[in-house]
Symmetry: C2
Subunit: 180 residues, 2 copies
């Protein structure tokens, strides 16, 4: 059994967290057990009652972290894909993982807000800017970028393939996975 | 990696679910990866907002089931210890596990209500009978015993050691674990 780890993706809505989680997960599955914990799916299945206040977002992030640690404890390489906008809560998740000697890699999925507004794949930014969505991260709710992320991918200028390589390089360099 | 499974303990408060989960888990750890999901702990960590209506209990049980399946998918032998009073919700958890080809063993941790009231280790039955606790299973809230459990342990007459052996026998007979 390989040893588990947590790759924590954080970034704005639409920045590419889910896409990257799946692409990185695909590559890792060749060498280890992988589970992707998607913030939106988890909300639907585990946190239907939660809203988007800081308190509620924190609860959702803590649930994600708890389930991630449970899996990582058993050798699973966990990738979380959730906006997780608050730096203190992400730091709390890192501490909780490291307390259990679970390696924790914070990856900032960075895209300029303007690019996201221009692309607006799901039409959410338009609605948020029109005031139709409360607590929309980046528009009407804060996003605190990581001050010292373990890895940064610039999804507004890199291809998915490039960003995947950047992340995998860090995982390999830190000895968390090995490709033969 | 061994293949995962879910041992689902159900029974009244004080019947011995947590004790049995720990004792069975201890034995299984010699041969496989084990995680115990305790209903009360999960409530504290994952479901602080939930009460004890049927709807809320069902949500808690579904969360337990979801996390159990996530772990079992990765070869972990999961033991859940939660009252889980409603037969339809337990049946739903069985179907969800079996849909993923995860073996699901329902163990009825059976003790007569009178014995539990007499013992009343935590003093909860006294308070429930005095009307101080709403929605207390067995007193002011229903408990639907399994009609076709995979295994029954009678904790009001068996020792913990005896009940553990009864459960392990079923797990071995079903080919879910092997002791060498």
């Amino acid at each position: 059994m390989s040893s588990g780890a947590i790759l924590w993706l954080t970034g704005l809505s639409g920045a590419g967290k889910t896409t990257l989680a799946q692409a990185v997960g695909e590559r890792l599955r060749a060498v280890t057990a992988v589970e992707i914990l998607d913030g939106e799916e988890l909300r639907r299945d585990l946190s239907q009652e939660l809203g988007f206040s800081k308190a509620d977002r924190d609860i959702n992030v803590r649930r994600l972290g708890l389930i991630g640690r449970l899996l990582a404890r058993h050798g699973v390489f966990v990738i979380t894909a959730a906006i997780s906008p608050y730096a203190d809560t992400r730091a709390e998740m890192r501490r909780a993982a490291e307390r259990e000697r679970i390696p924790f890699v914070e990856a900032f999925v960075d895209s300029s807000l303007q690019t996201l507004i221009d692309r607006d794949v799901k039409g959410l930014y338009r609605r948020a800017l029109a005031g139709e969505i409360d607590h929309f991260t980046g528009i009407s709710d804060p996003y605190e970028p990581p001050s010292q992320p373990d890895v940064v991918v610039k999804t507004d200028v890199e291809s998915v393939r490039e960003s995947v390589e950047v992340i995998l390089r860090v995982l390999v360099d830190r000895g968390l996975v090995a490709f033969h």
